[in-house]
Amino acid sequence: MKKFLVILILAVLGFHLFAAFSGLGFGVTRFEKGVKDFYLEKTVSELHVANTVTSIVVNFRGFDTLGEVTVLFLAVSAMGGILYKRRHHAGDRSVLFSSSSIVRSGSKLLFPAIILLGVYIFIHGHLSPGGGFQGGAIIATGFLLMLIAYENFSVSHNTLSYIESFAGIFFVVIGLLGFMNGGTFLQNFLPAGILNNLFSGGVIGIIYVMVGFKVAAELTGLIYTILHEKD
């Protein structure tokens, strides 16, 4: 009965949503001059950043990203706080499984490659698809793999915390430096460089690297926390 009701309600909702969105048109230009045109123009002409998404994420809407990073930080902290227990023995894992040697060897083999890929992705965030978040996530996957493969693989919680904090501090400080140099928060105060070079886009690349570190540390810490959760 309840399910029927829910389906009915959802059908109505779906109908309205669909009616609304299908009227929007697909793949057409809907507005004369939105912000995207400005972004597409300026990202090349002023920021010298190839990846427009990166320039938007880190510069035009960099404030969002700062918030986003904070959300991640909060989420990890919140997990730590929520799962906190009075007598907490570090190193005890709640999820214990023995992996086969294939997995172990494969992981060992793959781990550096994964880390390298991640680092590549967030270093080239302003040039090619990807960026700090993606790279960070990939790095965290590497650690996940290692944690799955090795029961006693451990990451120093403090190290993660340092990386996390320093990266965050660096982000804000870069923003504040922009504030002091150029007048507004997160303003680019470094030379923009040449488009499609690694050292281009001013602070954008640096910030994205920081974000990469931070995301990697946070996701790893997150996995680590859950993995060490005991009943």
Binding site: V28, L40, T52, T65, L83, I226
Partner: protein, 124 residues
């Protein structure tokens, strides 16, 4: 691309994203397991992200990345803004999911169940 195909695609992409939202909502509203509810929430997020990306799509557009020599291709590019938004939204959704999962662990510690109907000590 074929116009006919494109029309179907239009229907399909919007339909798929909305269907994802509805499926997620259905899970949130009817599934009794907390884990499934969280999965439902993630599915909703996925649907909405798809929706956002779809909105930014431009017929025949390319990725909003300037390659050397194609600096003037801005008119051919899909809208980068929704993509940036989705990036942010994904991370936020991820954070929320993480908190939700940790809360579920806490709830399981106290209630020894994951049935949402049995976790209503706070009411009225």
């Amino acid at each position: 691309m074929d116009d006919k195909l494109f029309e179907i695609l239009e229907f399909g992409v919007y339909g798929a994203s909305i269907l994802l939202i509805l499926i997620g909502l259905y899970a949130v509203l009817t599934k009794r397991s907390l884990i499934k509810i969280v999965i439902g929430m993630s599915i909703i997020d996925g649907g909405i992200h798809l929706l956002l990306i779809t909105i930014g799509y431009l017929k025949g557009g390319t990725a909003p990345i300037f390659s050397p020599g194609y600096e003037e291709a801005a008119g051919q590019m899909v809208d980068p803004v929704p993509q940036a938004l989705v990036l942010t939204a994904i991370v936020i959704g991820f954070g929320v999911t993480a908190v939700a999962l940790s809360l579920i662990i806490r709830l399981y510690r106290h209630h020894h169940t994951l049935e949402i109907d049995e976790i209503k000590r706070l009411k009225w």
